[in-house]
Amino acid sequence: MTERDDEEVEETERREAEALAHALERGSALDALPEDALEAAALLRYSAGGGELPADREDALLAEVLARAARAKEREAAAAPAPAPLWRWLIGFTGVAIALALVLWFRMPSEEIAATELPRPSAALVSSGIERLGPGGDEAAFRDALRGYRVSVYEALEARYE
């Protein structure tokens, strides 16, 4: 390093030191103050005050924070979609109720429709039914006879709805 270089370094250091002193004294920085010196000045000033903000500064900050929070809330509320009005819900529920009623109406059997006239069971079948109830009754014989009768019942039911 030459003598000239040494002089330039000393000059730079001197300017930075003056700027730092100015910042510490006045609370504002000169152009010559580098970023790290500015942070150092801010920290020194903050610690010199016992780490606390003056009451008026605190109040000002609080007011600003609250105002910003209120503005943010307003922006958020403006961005959120508006809830559906009541009449839309009412129409929706009415639609669902009508659809359910339609489904039930079409699916439920009707009490008003007359019953199909079923074939009469034969005397032999009924007698077999009586006998099977007694002791030693022949359930299998009754079931065979009943199977034939059931077929005729289903035929009548099917024919009725053709």
């Binding site: 339609l102 019953a115 009924v126």
Partner: protein, 154 residues
């Protein structure tokens, strides 16, 4: 009209329109009953029970007479109850007898069969008094049916 409402109405109309017609329902039920008959004949009780339970689980369509539905369901309940009893499941048999009779008692063979089933259930439970009562009610119906049958044959 909102899009949701229109969709709901359309869906409801489609569901209603797709409901089985009584003829198709009856044809399916008859086929299931015949499958149960065939399964019972070859001793396949599980298959018979499946077919009969399908009858009970199938929703009845609009246009079907409630009394016709009762006949079909009472018959299925009685057959399921008997199958349950054959397998030693007395409680299930009792439930089928109860549910079947709750559909309505008429002077016809399917009601009499349910009363006979109720008697068998009571017997299996050792309740002779209840068994006798159920058999007697079944006999009363059979006597009325016999009178009618003999009257018609004369």
């Amino acid at each position: 009209m909102t899009r949701a409402t229109a969709t709901t109405l359309l869906l409801g109309a489609l569901l209603a329109g797709c409901a089985d017609d009584p003829r198709a329902w009856m044809t399916d039920v008859r086929a299931a009953s015949e499958r149960a008959d065939a399964a019972e004949a070859r001793g396949d009780h599980a298959a018979a029970i499946d077919a009969l339970e399908a009858i009970l689980s199938r929703e009845a369509p609009r246009g079907l007479a409630a009394e016709d539905l009762r006949v079909v369901r009472q018959d299925a309940h009685e057959r399921l109850g008997r199958a349950s009893l054959a397998r030693g499941d007395v409680d299930r048999a009792a439930a089928h007898a109860r549910e079947g009779l709750a559909l309505g008692e008429r002077e016809e063979i399917f009601t009499a069969n349910l009363l006979a089933l109720a008697g068998r259930v009571a017997e299996a439970r050792g309740d002779d008094r209840e068994a006798a009562r159920a058999y007697h009610r079944a006999l009363v119906i059979h006597e009325a049916l016999l009178e009618r049958a003999l009257g018609g044959e004369r």
